[in-house]
């Protein structure tokens, strides 16, 4: 058992086996208790719905991923900018940080209908919701990365006569990288949630819309297929940035 836990494959094999076991249990319970498929469909029914409707599932997935990535890209730019601003300027920190925290506590689901009112249905409100959910953790983490630089590390460079710019380039920036990359995998999940929320409220495209319209027409297996698709996409987005983190900031221990 211990040698399995230490092997390279454990982190892939164990969750896969667990997931399979979960689906098998689910299948058995649905079959034993004769749960009707418009309440909780069996995994087999979900799978056949997914195969049957694979075309719309894939098309809508692409839409969701696209809005997520556009919103997320803006979130990265804005998050890094705000993070550096807050991390470096005491004034900016005092002015902006309370506002950001206050704004971040507003449930973005409550904003989605408002965005639909302002910007109509579809792409724009989804991008905006994704952006708003994702930029805060990035900004907060980048600021934290700058704040936690060891003073002695700065002293070594200052004693060599380094300028503020050199201090930033040689210490502040690289030091905040692990914090940035740790935030990216969380933020991309947030952006994904944001675009799906907006799709359920204010769109005629995307997996979020697909799930809502499937349940509206009592096609519960398709609804579940949509949910599973969302889960898979979420895992893929998270993993992508988790792997990226491993490569880019491999030195951080």
């Amino acid at each position: 058992m211990n040698s399995l836990l230490r092997s390279k494959y454990a982190s892939v094999v164990l969750p896969t086996v667990t997931t399979l076991v979960l689906f098998i249990l689910w299948e058995i319970i649905v079959k034993i208790f004769h749960i009707p498929s418009f309440n909780v469909p069996a995994p087999s029914a979900i799978w056949s719905a997914a195969v049957e409707k694979s075309q719309p599932l894939i098309e809508n997935s692409l839409v969701t991923v696209q809005t997520t990535m556009v919103g997320f890209s803006f979130a990265i730019v804005a998050g890094i900018f705000l993070g550096f601003l807050i991390g470096y300027s005491r004034l900016a920190y005092m002015i902006l940080y309370p506002i950001l925290v206050g704004f971040n506590t507003i449930p973005k689901a409550a904003l989605a209908p408002l965005f639909a009112l302002w910007f109509g249905l579809g792409f724009l409100p989804a991008v905006l919701t994704a952006f708003l959910l994702a930029f805060f953790p990035i900004a907060a983490n980048v600021a934290l990365g700058l704040e936690t630089v060891e003073p002695e590390m700065k002293d070594v460079l200052r004693a060599l006569g380094a300028s503020q710019l050199e201090l930033f380039r040689k210490v502040g920036l690289p030091h905040s990288m692990p914090y940035l990359f740790a935030s990216l995998k969380v933020a991309v999940s947030f952006a994904f949630i944001g675009s799906v929320i907006s799709e359920t409220v204010a769109s005629d495209k995307g997996v979020g819309y697909l799930v809502v319209s499937a349940s509206a027409s009592f096609d519960v297996p398709l609804g579940f297929a949509g949910l599973l698709t969302l889960s898979c996409l979420g895992i893929m987005l998270y993993s992508f940035f988790a792997i990226l983190e491993k490569y880019v900031v491999h030195w951080a221990r």
Partner: protein
């Protein structure tokens, strides 16, 4: 330079200094503690010569680290002045090497690039960095070889032991041939045997550069082993209680540190250390 100092009656060290590269002129330090001024350093005046290795020993909290920060210009002296080439230090000097108790390597750089860091910042190396990169890398490799780390140059800091990291830190502090090397208890976190090895390596590195070196330590054997001059500071508010010249030939070996003569020096310093 014949004027008398206002503090003359309290001085044990000859003053005014004559030909020092680095001169502490009536240094004092006060902090506000709960709104009341608290004197940390009463008065320190002394002079350090070109190529001199100086140690400061004394009880904790007597302002030794503050003295280093005054020399580096990171926190210029609030009372009195530190003169370097007869000019007052009031901002960070540009050619100082520093090593602390923690190695403070940059974790995103491998060992070689950590050692090269000062050459990317300090002139004239900075402007020549692109053309002479091969030569600079050879310099860094040479230093790493001196401390037995030639094979570790492409490792990252987390892959090295504490003692190895501290050796890298010393190489980094010295590669740009600073005129002043400041060491703030650099070996305090290491075990006794590693520490002795480090003395030897530090001496080796320092003998190549022959810069002014100011060492702060609580280890009296370390102070005697490495120094030309040892200053004993008193408890807060501190001043220099005792000055000791160590006349032992260099390079000093481990064997030298076991002789009676060496132990006499250690005992002499110990007798003059007083605690609050």
């Amino acid at each position: 330079m014949n004027q008398t100092s206002p503090h003359e009656n309290r001085l044990i060290v000859p003053y005014p200094p004559q030909d020092g590269l680095l001169t502490f002129d009536g240094i004092g330090l006060e902090y506000l503690v709960d709104g009341k001024p608290c004197k940390i350093i009463d008065e320190v005046s002394l002079s350090i010569h070109q190529g001199e290795f100086v140690s400061f020993v004394g009880p904790s909290g007597c302002g030794k680290t503050s003295l280093l920060r005054m020399v580096s210009g990171l926190a210029p002296a609030p009372i009195g002045q530190v003169l370097y080439h007869n000019r007052k230090i009031n901002k960070p000097l540009k050619n100082v090497g520093i090593a602390f108790q923690s190695p403070t390597l940059l974790p995103w750089r491998n060992i070689l690039n950590n050692v090269l860091l000062p050459l990317e910042v300090v002139q004239p190396y900075k402007r020549e960095f692109k053309q002479k990169q091969a030569k600079f890398i050879a310099m860094a490799q040479d230093m790493l070889a001196t401390v037995g780390l030639k094979d570790f140059q492409s490792q990252f800091p987390w892959q090295l032991s504490g003692g190895m990291r501290q050796r890298v830190s010393l190489c980094r502090a010295l590669i740009h041939q600073p005129e002043i090397l400041l060491l703030d208890e650099p070996f305090a976190a290491l075990d006794a045997f590693t520490r002795e090895e480090m003395w030897f390596m530090l001496q080796d590195l320092w003998l190549r550069v022959k810069c002014v070196c100011i060492l702060i330590t609580h280890d009296l054997r370390e102070a005697v082993y490495l120094s030309d001059t040892i200053y004993v500071m008193g408890p807060r508010p501190s001043s220099i209680l005792y000055k000791l010249k160590v006349d032992l030939p260099r390079p000093r070996t481990l064997e030298d540190s076991l002789t009676d003569e060496f132990n006499h020096y250690v005992a002499d310093v110990r007798r003059h250390i007083k605690r609050n």
